[in-house]
Structures are given as structure tokens and as C-alpha cells.
Symmetry: D2
Subunit: 424 residues, 4 copies
């Protein structure tokens, strides 16, 4: 079995620290659930979301199914039915519990899922001790850990959505007070045309959808020095943005009408406060707008006489910048205003995922992973849009310049914002 | 404020034992939840069902809102938001959390709901001690306890439905082994025509919808000596009952097509076993068929060359029989076959609610309770059918000959079966 | 083959004039379509409605299927596929074109349907000439003609609904100007209790659902001397009737919310005019309110401190009154205000169908017609409410005191109004 | 008012023949309706489709609104309400009749729409005579005629869909017998990498979405010499293509499940015949497969170990080939098998629109037309996929190498097929 994509070298997994590293990532998930009750962990607030318990079990199942079962001698699954319950979408594995019914599973309960995690961890330690240096295992473990990190962000998105639906508006955790920020003038950074490479290079881990690295001809253009702020977005709203169909894509306008959108998700009705993982909080004018759909980002850009960047434009600008910013590790779990101390472009990484105008499609020469793991990314390459740069709920190590996140244009429960672009 | 219906005398509440009696009923609810995890109690498997936690809180809210708030001096609500969260359908109280979103409330958690119950109980004890002898309080307390009992049965129905949706098929509780039973020949008991009284008589508690007692002219007819059994129903299925539109009401046939019905709810695919509150169990041929909709009961009766009874026919036959049978107190939580030892008609009470062919309409001269409590029963008097006799999940004290239960004709998660009738 | 219900004598069909009579009824349908374009006749404005062309073809199919095919020697169907296309709901005949797709049939076109009618008529003449005196044929022909009359009213309802959906608001026909009327004081006519017969008596034609005649015990009550008028209903609206949930049945309130109801169907937004078959016309305050659903009729009655009559109450009052009123033959096709010249109760027949509070259920001892025709009425005996008395779109000969019309409580495109009742 | 896009020169409109040319295109629409009854022209078989009558009126409205109203002195609209009824989707014009209710308009009838067309034509003649040489008018007239041609193809698609829903399976017209064809071996034509221009060049008319011409870096690849045939597609079906989720995009698999797809639209159940505009016809194995969705085309390609082309790959191969093929003018209205006489790649133009793997997005530097006409193309640039090359229902003059058609990936009532591509 050769799982790695043909065009991609085996990534280096730190073999001496492998168990430690494995457990560090796994423990982050557990930590995120620390303040959650069993009920919090069992509920599903909409079909797009999953219960925290499910995330916890599914990310364990990933290791069990793709590592323990095939590689650990005499491994016996914790519970054979979990293969059905916690398979997310791998049809080539077999049947699966319907996504929209994940919130109907009161059993296994939180305690049993904790046992499941412990069971998987214990056996993963054994496997990593024995064979963790083998490239295939190292690759798969890295994949499993990156997968776990994706579910860490999903778990936070889903808890935030669940709590926002509760009239009691519970908070996930007391969060640090916001840092006061000030307005930064919007400027556009010119970028010349060129035939430039994008996609993952080198031997570090990346997802199959970031490969192969290839050349793209990019027209001359300019990117905003900063993210679009709450203040910018309020102007758009006050100018009647949500009632001007000419600003919207046709499907976007249909969403506005059907959903009754008139402001970002989580803003309160008078647009002075927003719901955060730390409860309701005053809206910071200078912080980046967050929880807008692609349709809203696109309409805003049109109103502003600009457009969204392509993913190639974004990546070529981001490529040589340090991956620093407001990530999960900062413990803020909410976007911050830009600091003028840094050098522009500000906040390319962290704070909010940036919508691009690029549909999520395969790169030229794309080969999905062989076997079941080929279902990981490739089958979602229709109807979704690419987002770049990571958010305040993304582990810092998880992102890179070539990282491609993707959501449907009508979704907005992810930490998504935007940066403007212009033709030269 | 005069809450009792005009035409109904104040019921006698046992004043000397009133706190004891109150607590006995309340403790039954707690007991039913004994084996449930917090997750079990938080989930909602369909819009018709509610989380166990919600039942527990709502039945407490009923006492808080209708007794403590108006009658207990200086009473302060446990949490003012609960008035919104745990109001079921009383528009005259104010807004309410949407029914279909009861399963989105991870908070208040199970522990807090337990505190809420304790808080309400403590204050109810005070109120009952002080004023429990007053007729209005006695009446309202009795109403609240009857309301609680209704939610006890709903809680069981809802837990059964939730567990049945879980591929792990958890069991609520280990149940006593079924008693072996044998076939009883079907006979029809002739009943002559007459102008007969139905409806609640006397001063004991009854719901407003059982009043006023009034005369009905009943044609000569005959009622089956026993309930329709699983065996009877299997014959109907094997004879092609589910694929013969001529046997069905038009709306019933539409349900069959839309829902893909081909057997009672909870039967397994090969029709040898059924899901119970004690897990899957072999189908007992001689036990009454259960969890059929009105449409199925009606189609079965038509196939059998018979019909369902009217509620007046049922009540006049049941009126002078002792209220004995397989009720919640038996601890079986599942219908049993009839015992030939008893005298026919068998199983008029307990085991399964019996569908009648009577739409749920007001009795001539019906007056709903005054004020908000007028919403209790009257506003449901459209599109639903009356069921009679109580089930294995009904507290014995809760039913009587005049008791009118009601469900929509397509619903079948309640413990519902049928008894045949014939024109003379 | 014995088609007539067991308990019902063969009706007398005027055998000497039988062809004439047959053609008279058939020609009314053709006349109603006189002003319609082929497009008007082909469209379907909602699943409840059917294209005029379909009504025309289906009522012909009824004669073809139930009379020509079984009784006319060597009869060959006009087109064998019409058995599929124009079967309405007789499952025992075989498959049928889905009701909601009747508006997808551009073919057969109007001209071909006219040929079909002519073909059926020509052969019916032959059959009636030869065997029209035989009781079974006489009965079936009478049934077919009554069936045709029902579709005449449906055709008018459906054209009105279609035209109302068209922003051009076409009119079906120029209608006679309304007669000016004046207010009549509302009075209640007392009716004593009694064990009274209802249902069809005698040997004239009646539908199976009107039989058998049987005794009902009726409580003392009173019925309004007149219908509820537009003025009465406006008062209800102005008093906030559509925003007071306490006035509504639970399912009714759900309809109000879901459909956004705030006035009768066909009233314009400022409630000064209504859409009629003759185009928009000023609202006549003293004319009976029309095109209200059961839920609206019931809420109005509750607001007025009254209730709707039962069908038995209505029938016993109507039984000895002449069947006179504003019927289809008057050519008004719209309800008129009551004339004080007549004797109360006014307008028991004609103008508007009167909602009763009686669910449509079988009479004691009801036997549907044998064979396929048993599907005519019986299978709709769930979830619908009985209306009495006929309307301005009903042929006068078609109704009688025992006639039971029925619609779902949320439907309101029929000519439906109400008369109040009170307990004594 | 400057309507043309900034970057596009004014197209040359043949000014000496301008009225003749205008009328030629207009008359094609009329000719396509020749065999249709008024009923055929009034019905709407699904929300995506429109009645033929609507197409006829809407394409006239386009001239009335964008040419006659602003440019013809003293022009009075034929009927002011038509601006509401026949506006398709131009929000900046004002309100519009809901798309899904186009089939509810029996009025204006076919005759009145014919008058409307004649009225518009008469005034357009006047306008063209007087001012047809002015560049802006010439441009707008050309745009209107291209718009009319798009609706000609839509009209055929919609009539085919309507007739296919009718159990009588009417035919639109007797079509010429198919030409017998034979199998052509599948070969791949290699195409080297390069930085190549795509998009419209020159001064002829093109839609705004084809501009601006710009360079794209294309990787080395190969395109199939021929279209995928019915035979190829049957192999895919027989190999279980419709039941192998691993072959499908995730959203595609959801469509398969939801819609119950197991073959192309219009194939009969045993896959030996297909419904055409000339009625049912035997399936020609060597003809290109038609009426498949993007999801099906993509799954087929994956199964075949290939992929779909990008639009740039398609355009650069097509760019220097003559625009010849089986277009509307051939009068076949159905795809034919390829003739080996021609030189490969076969059938780049005509027969079937070819799905590409390119989402429909703006070209770099895209500027929509100014004003209302900016709504023509740009607002659909989300969630749709590009198709190229025209079909047997497309007017030959209407297409060119740079022409971009677009449909949602789940749509398949258009004449859509596919050509395979491969990475080098």
C-alpha cells in the first residue's frame, strides 16, 4: 500500500520526539473540551456542525482506522461499531452514520469517548515506538495530526454556533480582554505580473490539494495592506449594502433573501456587540470583520470598487512572510485589530481566514492520495471557494503559504473575513 | 381569578397528605431518569419529541408559573429566562423557545435542572403546607401533578424513540422477562343502542376536555373482546396490507408512500423482533400490536371487515370496569398478551392506548379552563384522533373511563394499538 | 356487479327525458369554459387545483370508465392512455398521473379534449337510449352527472385562483352588478334538544356519505339568523384577530404564521376590494364573508363569543326549508347580501358553503359504494371538515339538506363562509 | 450612457442590411414555435425552464426595454405591465414576476404575445432605419439578437423537457432520420505547455464574459480526438458507475442519491432508446452522450482514468478550427456521431456543449457592461461550470472559440456532453 501522492516526497516526522509530539497535538483537543459539559459535547446545532464528542471520537477513529488497524499487529478495535459511527465521509471504508444525525447519538457517552481516545493513544504510542521511523507511518501520523488540528478548529466553530443558538448565551471560556487598536489607513500594495510558482514545495508535510507546485501567470494587481474591518463593513451596511441586489452575485442575493441576512453572523441586532467564545462583547471597530460568507465578502468588495484576491495572488504575496499572527496558541480565540508596528501587509496569517475569489479546484496534475485517503480532499472540489491564511482558531503550525481551506459560498460559521484586491 | 371550568366542581385533593402526594408524583419523574446519562437527557430525536431534561424542567416550570408565582408570597423565580425556555405552548404567557429547537439547549445542564426541580419542590412544600387546603390551590396542584404524569409517559416515548435511532440500540433499563401468553379467540361483545351519558361525572379530578358529561345516542354495535395482536397484524402485512391502497384512507396512503411504512414502528426488518425500552426483544405473537398510527389501525380494521370503535362506544363499555391492567407501576414498560383468567373485554385499561375513530372535538357545552390554562387542551381540537384506556407507560391513577388522549393520525411513537368494533 | 350501497334504494332517474337531462348537465361545463383561452384551460395554479381542461376530460372519463366501458357493447375507449391521464384518485382502476403534475400536460390539447367530450356524449346517448331505464344505469348516470356538477364548481374555484395569481388579474366573465343590501341585525334562533334524524331519506339520489339516515341526540342550542358578513369579519381583523394566538386552534395559528394570513383570500391589501370571477370589485360590507378557512371561521367564532354549528344542528334547521338562494343558475358567481324580505334563517342555501365544527367522518352504519366507486367519498374521511348548504358556484339541483361537502381546515379557495352558533 | 465594456471595441453591425438581419434572427424564434399549440407555449415543466410564450415575450421585451424605450422618440410601451411580467432577472430595472411562476400566466395569451412581437419588430425597424448606424445602437441590437439566440436554444431545451414529462410523449417536429455512423477509436492529441492568450479578440461581437483577452499558462496535456459516445457511457454504467461513490465528487454523489440518477436524462429505462425533439428514437451507440450533468461527466472521466479539459485547454485547441458542425441550422436538433472524414479533433463545435472543469469566474480585469446590462453575465459567476462549443440547438453564428456557456453542475436538460482530457 502506497498512500502518499505520487508527486510528493515523504515528509520528515521528528522521529525522536514522535510520541511526545503526537500526544501534544492530541492533548490540545482534550484541552479545548475542558470547560464543556457532557450535554455541550453531545449536541449538534445544524447539519453543517458536529457535536464536540463526535469530533473527539472521529479524530481518534482516524488513527485507529488508518494506522492501528493496518499497522499494529493484533490490534483489536475498541468497538467495531465505531467504524460506522465515526467514519465521516469515506465511502470506500463502508457505511457511515448520516452527518445530519450525529446529534442523535447520546451513546457512546462522553466518558466512553474519553476511554476510546485513551485506548487509541495508548496503542498509537506502542506503534510509534516500534515503527514510527518508517516513512509511511511517519507520513500517516502527520496526516492524522493535521486532521486532528482541522477538527480542533471545527470543534470551536461548532461550539460557538451551538452556544449562540442558546438564549442563555453561555460562554465557552473567559477570554482575555481585547487589546485596544486604532484605525489603519487602507492602502494597496502593487504586485507586478509574472509567471510564478504556487503550491507546496519541499519535503515538509502538506495536503495533497496543495500539490503539485506549478506555474501560474498572474496579471499585475494590488492587494490591500490590511483586512477589511468591522468599521469598513458597517459603512457598507449603512450604505444599504444588504438591500442593493446589484452588488450581489445572483446566488448571493438569493441567500440574502432566503436567510434574511442583514449583518455578519453573531452580531447583535443593533450592531454594537458580537457573540464570541467568551460571550457577548462590544464590537471592536478596528478588528477585522469575521463570520461573513463569500457572498457577503464579494458584495462588500464590489461596493468598495475592488474585488477579492485570487488564491495565487494571495499566496505569492504571503510566500516569503513569517507565519506569525493571532493563532489558537495566543488564546484569544477572537480576531484582533492590526498592529501598525508590524510591516504591511498586515495579518496575512491568523485572525481570520481570507476569502479568495478562487473556486476550489484541483491544481494541474493533481493526484489525490491513493486508496481511501484519496477521499480526504479531492472529492470536495466543486462549489466551494478557497480561503487562505488561518484564523484565531487555527493552530499556528497547521498553516503555511500554500494551505488551502475551503467552504461553500453561503457558509459563515467559520472565522472568515476578507482582504481587498484590485486590478492594476 | 377563577381557573376551574364553570361546569366542573372543585376536585377533592387529599389535604392531609398533600406534600407527600405531591412529592410521590414528582419523584416518579426523577426515577424514570435514573439510568439516563446527561447526554441522553439533552437530545431531541425529532420535532415531535423533547429531551428528557426539557420534560423535567417544563413540568417544574408548570408549578412555578401556575402556583408559586401567583400564590407564594415573595417567591422569586429560579431563573427568569426559564419562563421563555420551558414554556411549552402557552402563548398567553409570552414568547417561548421553538419546539423544534429544544434539543439545542446544552444549558441549563442536567445538574442545574435538578437544582431547579429541588427549588420548585421546596417552595411547593411551603405553599402546600400553608395553603394546600384551599380549593383553588388543591385543584391547580392536582392539575400540575396530572400534567407531570403526562410528561412521564412522553419522556418514556421520547427516550425510546431516541434510543431506537441510535445504531448502538442502547436500552433504557433491563426489563422483566415477558410472561408467556397464548392465543385468545376473537369474539365480539354485542352492545345495544341507547341514549347514554359520557364524559366525566363526579367531583374527582378530570381534564376540561372530559366535560361536560352529556348524552349521546349510540347505535347498536359490538366491540372485540380483546386487542388486536401482533399475530393479527402480521397476517394483515402478509396479506399485502401495506401495498393495497383500497384499504387506506387517502391521507393514510400518502403517509405510507411518503414514509415508506411497511410495518409498525420499532419492529425489525424481518419482523421477528421489536425494539423496547429494554432493548431488542423477540416479538410476542399474542401481545397487542403497538406503535401503529391511526392510519394503520384504520386500514387493519377495514381489512378485517370491521372498524374502530367510537370514543362513546369505548367509554360506555369501559365505564363500569375496574381500572386494572399493565400500567407504568407494573414496571414492564411494554404491552403484554391478555390473560384469559380475566373476564372479557380484556385489557380495556393499560398495555396500549386504543385508537378510536372519533376525531378529538369539544363535547357539547365544552368550556376550556379560564385564562392561560384554557390553552391546555382546547386548542388541539383539530386534526387529531382520540385514544382511550392508557398504556404500559401510563401511571395507573392517571386514567379513567372518560380520559381522552389524542394524537395526530400519522403519529406512532406513542404506545398505541387497537380494538376492533362492528356495526350490529 | 352491485354498485349501489346496501342501505340505499335505487334513485329515480327521469327515464323519458334522460338524454336531454344528461346533455343539459354536460353542456353547463362547456358553457363555463366559453370565455377561456386554451392557455387558461391548461394551467394549474397550485397542487390543490386542476386545469379546466383536466376537469373537462376527467368528468368525461368518469362516464367512459364507469358506464361506457362496462355497459356499452363493443365500446372502444377514445384513447387508452386517457385512463391513466384522467383518473383522479381511483387506485383500484390502476395507475394515475400525479395530481401535482396535471398542469404539465399541454397535450391532449383543448381541441382534442373537446373531441373526447363529444365522443363520450355520443356514446352515452346510445347507451341511455338503449338501457337508460335500467336502475343500475340510471343510478350510475345520475352519479356521473352529480360528479360533473362537483367539477363545475371546482372548475370555477380553480379558474378564480389561477386568475388571481396573474398580475394582469384577468376576469372570467363580466358579472351582473351587485345588488345593494343593508345591514341585518344578528339574532340567534333557539333550537331545543332532541333525538333527531339526520342523513338522506327517500329514494332520490344522494351520495353514499349522506347515508344511512340515523338518529343523533342534539343539545339545546341556537343558530344565527344570518351569515357572518364582511363587516363582521372586518371588525374581527381590526380588533387584532390575526395576531391573537389565544383565539386560534394550535394548527390554525401555525397556518397563520406559515402563510402570513391577515385577511380572507382574494381581498386586496387595504381591504376595500376583492378579486371575483368578474375581476376586482368593491367589498360589499353586508355580503357574507367568503374564502375563509376553517381555522379563520373558528377563530372568528371564538372571538365573537360563539362557535360554529355542528352538521347535525345545521341539517335539522335546514331540513324543512325550501332550497332557494344564490346558486350558479343565478349567474352571479359571487355571494350576495341577505334580503330581509325572506324569513330567517337567511341564506341557509347558496351564496357560501358554511363551515361546521364537524369533522368529516362516516355516519354510523356507513357503507361505501361497492367496488371502485367506494373510493368516491369514504377514503377522505380524515382530517377534513364538513361544510353545508352550497354556494353561488353550486348548481341548485346539486344540493339538499343532507349534502356533505368537505375540505381541509386550511383550504380557502372554495366559496366558504360561516354562520355562528351558541350553546343554549 | 456608455453601455459597452471599457475594454471592448464597438462591434461592426452590418448597417446596410440591418433590418433584414434583425428580422432573420427574430423569425427563427417564431419558426421554432410553428408546431406548438397555445397550451404547449404556456406551460412550465420545472422552475429552471420557462414557457415558450415567455421566451417569445421576454426576448421582445429586451428590445423594448434596452432599445425602443431609451432611443425611439415618443415610443409607448405595448403594455406597461409587461415590464414586470417579462423582466427576467434585471433587479436594476425594478420588480419582476417570480421565475417559478412563469407557468401561471395564461394571459397574455399566445395571440397577444404575437402582437407584442409584431409591435416591437415594427418599431425596431423604424429605429434601425433611422439610427441603426450609430455604434451604440448597433452594439445593443447585436446584443439583443445574441440574447434572442440564447433564448432560442433555451426554448428548445424547455419544450423537450415539457414533452418528456408528458406520458403521451408528444414530438415537437418530425426530424430527419439519423445518419448511420461507426465507431472511431479514442486517441489523445498532445498539446505542449505554453503561455497562451484566451478570450475574445478583435472587434466582432462577443459577450462581456469573454473579455478581456489575457494570457494563461497552460501545462502540457492532451485532449481526446472525439466526444464521449453513448457506447462509452453505457460501459461506465454497466461497470457500476452510478453505484460507486469513489468515482464522484461529494456533491455529485449527493445528487445521484437525491435524484435517483442511473442514466442520462431522456434515456428510457432499458437504455435502448432516448426521447428527442422528434419523439423517442433508438439510441445511437456512436453518437455523443448528451444530457449529462457536470457531476456525471466528471465521474465518467474519473472512471476512464482521465479528466475534463479546462476551458483554456479547450479554447486554445479550438481557436484555429473552422466553426462547422451540427448546429441548429442543420435541422437535426439532435447530436450525431462523428464522421471520420473530417480531421480530428472531431466535433469541437456543434452537437453537444462540452463540459469543462473550469468554474465560471471572471477573467482577470473583467468589467461587466455598464448599467443594467451589467447584470447580464457577471452576477452568475458562482457555482456554475463553463461549457464550450455549442450544440445541435445552437445557431451557428452564435458561437465562437471564446464563447462561454455556463450551467450549474447538477443541471442536465441542456444539450451537454463531454470530451476527455489528460495530463501530459
Amino acid at each position: 500500500m502506497n498512500i502518499a501522492p505520487r508527486t510528493q516526497p515523504m515528509p520528515v516526522f521528528d522521529c525522536t520526539q514522535r510520541v511526545l509530539r503526537y500526544q501534544q497535538v492530541r492533548d490540545v483537543t482534550t484541552g479545548l473540551c475542558h470547560s464543556l459539559t457532557p450535554e455541550d459535547m453531545a449536541l449538534q446545532s445544524m447539519p453543517d456542525a458536529s457535536p464536540a464528542k463526535w469530533h473527539s471520537a472521529h479524530s481518534s477513529w482516524f488513527f485507529e482506522h488508518f494506522l492501528l488497524a493496518p499497522y499494529l499487529k493484533d490490534y483489536r478495535p475498541f468497538d467495531p461499531q465505531f467504524n460506522y459511527l465515526f467514519n465521516s465521509y469515506y465511502y470506500t471504508v463502508g457505511g457511515m452514520h448520516p452527518r445530519s444525525e450525529r446529534g442523535l447519538l447520546s451513546r457512546p457517552d462522553v466518558a466512553e469517548v474519553a476511554h476510546y481516545r485513551a485506548h487509541v493513544d495508548e496503542h498509537m504510542h506502542k506503534l510509534l515506538d516500534a515503527r514510527g521511523r518508517e516513512p509511511e507511518l511517519a507520513y500517516l501520523t502527520t496526516l492524522g495530526l493535521n486532521h486532528e488540528q482541522q477538527h480542533q478548529e471545527l470543534l470551536l466553530m461548532d461550539i460557538k454556533h451551538l452556544f449562540a443558538r442558546n438564549p442563555l448565551q453561555p460562554r465557552w471560556r473567559a477570554l482575555p480582554a481585547p487589546v485596544s487598536t486604532s484605525a489603519l489607513p487602507l492602502k494597496f500594495i502593487p504586485c507586478p505580473e509574472g509567471l510564478l510558482p504556487i503550491g507546496h514545495a519541499g519535503s515538509d508535510f502538506a495536503f495533497d490539494n496543495e500539490t503539485p507546485r506549478h506555474r501560474v501567470f498572474i496579471q499585475a494587481h494590488a492587494l490591500a495592506n490590511r483586512l477589511t474591518t468591522n468599521n469598513d463593513y458597517l459603512e457598507f451596511i449603512r450604505a444599504g449594502g444588504y438591500s442593493a441586489p446589484a452588488l450581489w452575485l445572483s446566488d448571493g442575493w438569493a441567500s440574502v433573501q432566503r436567510e434574511g441576512w442583514n449583518r455578519p453572523l453573531y452580531w447583535n441586532q443593533d450592531m454594537t456587540a458580537e457573540f464570541t467564545l467568551g460571550g457577548e462583547r462590544e464590537l471592536d471597530s478596528h478588528a477585522p470583520v469575521c463570520h461573513v460568507s463569500y457572498y457577503e465578502a464579494d458584495a462588500f468588495a464590489r461596493w468598495a470598487g475592488a474585488r477579492l484576491p485570487t488564491e495565487a495572488e494571495w499566496e505569492t504575496l504571503a510566500a516569503d512572510r513569517a507565519i506569525e499572527g493571532n493563532f489558537m496558541e495566543q488564546g484569544r480565540f477572537h480576531p484582533l485589530g492590526a498592529s501598525a508596528v508590524a510591516e504591511p501587509p498586515y495579518q496575512m496569517y491568523g485572525d481570520v481566514w481570507e476569502w479568495t475569489m478562487s473556486p476550489y479546484t484541483p491544481y494541474p496534475g493533481f493526484k489525490p492520495l491513493a486508496g481511501t485517503l484519496g477521499e480526504y480532499n479531492g472529492k470536495f472540489m466543486a462549489n466551494q471557494m478557497v480561503l487562505r491564511g488561518g484564523s484565531c482558531a487555527t493552530p499556528r503550525e497547521h498553516v503555511r503559504a500554500s494551505y488551502r481551506n475551503f467552504f461553500y459560498p453561503q457558509q459563515r460559521w467559520q472565522f472568515s473575513g476578507l482582504r481587498l484586491a484590485q486590478d492594476a
